[in-house]
């Protein structure tokens, strides 16, 4: 089992689109995949047409005695399950805090899913909170989308610094999303970052209205337009993530 989280301190950087597409690509390659929507907006659940309804609210979800996998919903795509979120997830910080060792809670909840899934993808809400702290503990890799602007790079640096302070930090894989090649700033930031920081993934996701179509089609772009530029970019990104994970495994 490998746990991947899409995370960024900033909002609106295509975290959810990345989580949904990456989870779909994993499932399509034959890996049993679970996507856990941790965002109270429930956008990942919406993309996969699953009703944003969590029986008993987030408090019950975090109750270790109840089996998490029983809450999983099979998506329309073979091998891809979803744990939906609803608005009660806005209280996830409080619910975690009510538990002893709140930062370890997610990791402990996910441990029994080892036999059922090959990949778990966590779609995180933005900002640094107890939820993100728990995610950092549970995840093997953080896939962090960045819009190519100086402000995003600053937020990324903050995240890097924060992760460095952890005892066992997950592997951070930043990449550029919503890249608009027509903007010279985007081109310059991408080129400088890739040439100076080898930690960045080489694949980037272009800005495209087709990605926005995900909200009307309510499906991953890798499913409804698998040959589109964006879908191919996600496939390349997924390939690179796999490669990096395998390199880390070999090391």
């Amino acid at each position: 089992l490998r746990i991947l989280a899409t995370y960024s301190i900033k909002g609106g950087v295509a975290k959810t689109a990345t989580a949904v597409n990456v989870a779909h690509l994993a499932a399509r390659s034959g890996e049993r995949t679970l996507l856990w929507d941790l965002d109270p907006q429930g956008a990942a659940s919406f993309y996969l047409r699953v009703k944003p309804r969590v029986k008993g609210g987030v408090e019950r979800v975090l109750d270790e005695r109840r089996k998490l996998w029983r809450r999983a919903r099979e998506s329309d795509f073979e091998g891809l399950d979803l744990l939906p979120a609803d608005f009660s997830y806005r209280n996830m910080d409080l619910a975690l805090d009510a538990n002893p060792r709140p930062r370890k809670r997610l990791a402990r909840l996910l441990a029994p899913l080892r036999r059922r899934y090959d990949w778990i993808v966590l779609d995180c809400p933005p900002s640094i909170s107890l939820v993100s702290e728990s995610v950092f503990r549970a995840a093997d890799v953080i896939l962090s989308p960045l819009i190519p602007t100086p402000l995003s790079l600053r937020a990324h640096a903050q995240l890097q610094q924060h992760l460095r302070g952890l005892k066992k930090p997950p592997r951070l894989l930043p990449f550029f999303a919503l890249v608009d090649r027509r903007k010279s700033l985007h081109r310059r930031v991408v080129s400088e970052a890739l040439s100076t920081d080898p930690g960045f993934l080489k694949s980037s996701i272009p800005y495209s209205s087709r990605v926005e179509e995900m909200s009307t089609r309510r499906a991953p772009i890798t499913a409804f337009a698998p040959h589109s530029r964006s879908a191919l970019a996600y496939a390349a990104l997924w390939g690179e993530v796999h490669e990096r994970m395998n390199d880390a495994g070999d090391a």
């Binding site: 996969l48 009703k51 809450r71 099979e74 329309d76």
Partner: protein, 493 residues
């Protein structure tokens, strides 16, 4: 409901002649694909598939992989036969909720089944709707099931489509099994049991005859020969119950059949052993062994020709007709005799004592021929237990059988290693004499002989342990309790 997606497919199911896959609750089928076929092995819990250019006749012809491994474990060296052909037209429809999310998947199937050997006869199968629940949507699944159940004439379909197809084609999946399972009770007249057993053995011969003639699977011949040997031993043991002319004719015909089928079987065994050796050794050695394989195939073809002559002869037809007459319930050829429990106890007790006596006499330096005798003794005891086990407490007999099987396996492996050595030496000499032997062929044959010698030694070293386990105080006590009392009464009477 989503828009229906239509598809059509032809599936050909395969199994061994003794339905090994079916008995394990598994199904092997080939599905036609764009570039060849997809071979699918489905069980209760797992599904394996592998693309193939053509359907293999044996498991070992498949590319290495999980499917080959699983299949080989079940079917061993048996040939795969097409059992049924299913032509299916399907429509897949998804049931969606208000969000447009699929909550239940449905598949409507119209199929017809045909026998691959007689494809002109095609039978339509009942219309089947498969309903699949998606995880997390049980309520929707139950609602769909309720709706379907309310449709007049519908019912929950039990079992697999394959079983329905076989039933529609009047094919009984266990009809070819060679196992002797007769209803025998202790007080039944021994003559009745002999008659029923002989009839069952004749049936086994008949069932395997066609496969033997067409050389479909070496196991047809094997099962045929086992039936002949069993029948020979049955007739010998029932000498007092059989009319003398019936006894004489059966003895002589069965002995003739044993000889007529022996050479072909010997070559089958050698070829099978060579195949597994070649697989173990590697491609170079396999190539070096090819002249030997060709020689064996040629000789097997000759032997099979003689076998076909025997099966087509008047003597064979008369043997079956005569044996059937002997087995007729109203016939006078078999005397009812005593209760089967008495006759069986006496025979089993004697066979046991003989086996134990000969087994105990085996020392490290005892000639191999003596061990061969012990093997035959064990075989005789096994046949008797196969014939009459139903007349005794099942649990006790099962335990005895378990120990006996272990001993037989050891003795069988010892004998196979010896037969292989002498066979290989003879074949190598023939190859050299015929000028067909390449130096590397002789070297590899030499290696195989060495391996066989090592196996023989290893099995011989294991014999003492296996025999001690068989001749344990517990087993001795069990045999005395089961068979001795009756055999004494019989002897006294």
């Amino acid at each position: 409901l989503s828009r229906p997606r239509r598809s059509s497919e032809r599936r050909i199911y395969y199994d061994t002649f003794d339905w090994r896959l079916h008995r394990q609750g598994m199904a092997l089928c080939s599905r036609s694909a764009d570039d060849g076929a997809l071979l699918v092995l489905e069980g209760r819990e797992a599904r394996l598939d592998q693309p193939v250019q053509k359907t293999p006749c044996f498991a070992h012809e498949l590319e290495p992989g999980p499917l080959r491994e699983t299949l080989a474990e079940i079917v061993e060296n048996r040939r795969l036969h097409a059992t049924v052909c299913l032509d299916e037209r399907a429509e897949c429809v998804d049931v969606e909720d208000g969000e447009g999310k699929t909550v239940v998947r449905m598949r409507f199937e119209r199929s017809s089944a045909s026998d691959p050997a007689a494809p002109q006869r095609s039978e339509r199968l009942p219309f089947v709707v498969h309903v699949r629940a998606l995880r997390g949507y049980r309520a929707a699944f139950r609602a769909v099931c309720r709706t379907l159940a309310a449709v007049p004439g519908s019912r929950e379909a039990a079992g697999r489509q394959l079983d329905r197809a076989l039933a529609r084609l009047d094919r009984e999946p266990r009809d070819d099994a060679a196992k002797l399972e007769l209803d025998v009770w202790p007080g039944q007249p021994a003559g009745d049991v002999v008659r029923l057993t002989l009839a069952a053995l004749l049936r086994t011969m008949r069932v395997n005859e066609d496969g033997m003639r067409r050389a479909l699977d070496p196991e047809h011949l094997h099962d045929f020969r086992v039936a002949v040997r069993r029948a020979r031993y049955l007739v010998r043991g029932a000498r007092n119950l059989l009319a003398s002319d019936a006894y004489d004719s059966l003895r002589s015909d069965l002995s003739w059949l044993g000889s007529a089928t022996g050479p072909t079987r010997d070559f089958d065994v050698h070829l099978e052993q060579l195949r597994s050796d070649a697989e173990r050794l590697g491609p170079e050695e396999e190539d070096a062994l090819s002249p030997l394989v060709s020689l064996l195939l040629m000789r097997r073809a000759d032997a099979h020709g003689h076998l076909l002559d025997a099966l087509s002869s008047t003597r064979y037809a008369e043997f079956h007709a005569g044996a059937q007459r002997i087995c007729e319930p109203a016939g006078a050829a078999i005397d009812p005799g005593p209760a089967v429990v008495e006759l069986a106890s006496l025979r089993i007790w004697k066979a046991w004592r003989r086996l134990v006596r000969n087994g105990r006499a085996i020392r490290e330096d005892t000639p191999a021929a003596a061990l061969h005798e012990v093997r035959l003794d064990a075989k005789r005891l096994r046949y008797l237990l196969d014939f009459f086990h139903r007349a005794f407490p099942a649990r006790e007999v099962r335990r005895l059988m378990r120990e006996l099987r272990r001993l037989q396996k050891n003795l069988g492996a010892f004998n196979d290693a010896r037969v292989q050595q002498s066979g290989l030496r003879g074949f190598a000499a023939d190859l050299v004499a015929g000028g067909e032997a390449r130096p590397e062929s002789v070297i590899v044959i030499g290696r195989l002989v060495e391996d066989a010698v090592a196996r023989e030694r290893a099995e011989r070293a294991r014999f003492a342990g296996h025999f001690a386990q068989f001749d344990s105080p517990g087993n001795r006590k069990r045999v005395r309790r089961l068979f001795r009392s009756h055999s004494r009464e019989e002897s006294a009477s």
